[in-house]
């Protein structure tokens, strides 16, 4: 009798997994701003189990920036939450894998997202709910984009979480310089001035990301700004025409 072990994925294996969704063999990891952060979280940080995705004591990961979820689905596949056979159906009517994720369709996905500015508020409530039940160990992580911070709902959550010292809450901001008007003074200051612990790191450096995600921050919520290559978009910054 042979016991089949699930394949052990490495980071380099994610590219062909993503290609199953896009059909684009050249869709390399560098093209996806979130891939390294997601991989480090699921591979080294989060306490989650595909065999028990509703375990009360699990860590929560809330993908707030629901756009471009191929990297997320690839990591969830690598970690056993999604069957690889589902990937080619990406975006089709009968597939649970949409262009924005839906928690009701996919066990292990904590929130459905797509409309920007919802994850951090949900994460605040989740962190409060865990605390209220005496669940002190589970951590709540939410991933946002720098342009997503344009939404005012984030600033409601940042100020409140800082004021009450919600230290089981973690925000990861992928900074690919895509916010139309930028963030003068930097993204980190938005969190720091509200009492958060903040670290800014290279969003492609796995060891640096792991160290930042797990850095102590007693009594304060924690933000990690993960800086990656600027998004190449004509809309990424207001342009002043030069004659």
């Amino acid at each position: 009798m042979t016991i089949t072990q699930p394949p052990q994925y490495k980071f380099a294996d994610l590219e062909p997994v993503m290609a199953l969704m896009t059909g684009d063999e050249k869709h390399g990891p560098a093209a996806t701003s979130t891939l390294d952060v997601l991989w480090v979280l699921y591979d080294r940080v989060l306490n989650v189990d595909p065999g028990d995705p509703q375990a009360p004591g699990r860590d929560r990961f809330l993908l707030s920036k629901g756009h471009g979820p191929m990297a997320y689905y690839a990591v969830l596949t690598a970690k056993g939450f999604i069957e690889p056979e589902l990937l080619p159906g990406f975006g089709s009517f009968d597939s649970p894998l949409g262009h924005h994720p839906d928690r009701v369709l996919l066990p292990g996905v904590e929130i459905g997202s797509g409309s920007l500015g919802h994850g951090l508020g949900l994460a605040v409530g989740t962190a409060l709910g865990l605390r209220a039940q005496g669940l002190d160990h589970p951590r709540v992580f939410t991933l946002l984009g720098d342009a997503e911070l344009d939404e005012g709902s984030n600033h409601e959550a940042i100020a409140f979480a800082g004021a009450i010292g919600l230290d089981n809450l973690h925000a990861v901001v992928i900074d690919n310089a895509s916010a139309t008007h930028g963030w003068s003074g930097g993204i980190a200051t938005r969190f720091e001035r509200e009492g958060w612990s903040v670290l800014t790191v290279d969003g492609r450096d796995h060891d640096a990301l792991e160290a930042a995600f797990t850095a102590p921050h007693q009594g304060r919520p924690h933000a990690v700004v993960a800086v990656v290559e600027p998004k190449n978009s004509m809309f990424s910054r207001p342009r002043i025409s030069a004659r």
């Binding site: 508020g121 409530g125 865990l130 005012g152 709902s153 409140f160």
Partner: protein, 298 residues
Amino acid sequence: METMRERFIATTAELLDHDPRLAVVLADISADQFGGAAARHPGRVINVGIREQLLIGAAAGLALAGLRPIAHTFPSFLIERPFEQIKLDLGHQDAGAVLVSSGASYDMSSMGRTHQAPGDVALLDTLDGWTIHVPGHPDEAEKLLRHASASDGRVYLRLSGESNPEPHAVTPGRFEVVRAGQAGTVIAVGPMLQPVLNAVTDLDVTVLYAVTVRPFDAGTLRQAVGASASTDVVLAEPYLAGTSNREVDEALLDVPHRVLGLGVGRAELRRYGTPADHAAAHGLDAASLRKRISGFLR
């Protein structure tokens, strides 16, 4: 007389003492009155400040973590301002919550349009899966609150400063037949019951009393209409006029009928004054109701 809002606060404080699953989320409104409960249950009485997107987002997060959240503020700031959070953080996430508003359509008549939300029920009615209660008395508000807090679904409890003099033994989800007649059926919602009863004293109409308007009790309406010589129906709703006309039409799809939807007018009054002034301006006082109902029925 004790208001629905006072009863809500007292009942919720007691429920918090006995139900470890219950949590209350506030956005400054009523925070002082919840002070005692907050001192006893600091982890489960949460005031986020004047942040209504977070009010709903945090309530939904609490639900995702396994609690039963009650979120409370004025209807403008509970339903209208954070409407996308209601749609997505609660509906799309399939998370449950009890939203409790206080202020109704024009309880805060002297504060102007900013504090008036007659469209709250119609707006929420664009979404699936909501139970909407509109009690007419503090006792009914308490009963519906206890019922809602013990369930898991998405519930809107719309409290008002306007109240009927006597409570009814309401059953959540069911209309009550208050009186039977042959000239048509009047559905009085929540605090509209007493003005309607005053208006129809000498009219031979059936009066149904509704405290739960979604889901709409089509069965009781069909029975009432079937027992009456007239299939005409009048809705008297203490929020936007016509909000439930569609429900009446669907309930009576196979029955030729007419519907008159009475409620708060769409046009902005730009007047201050008292709730009674506003009721009269919208044709919802007993004299106006009598004129409009008798003018409609054949």
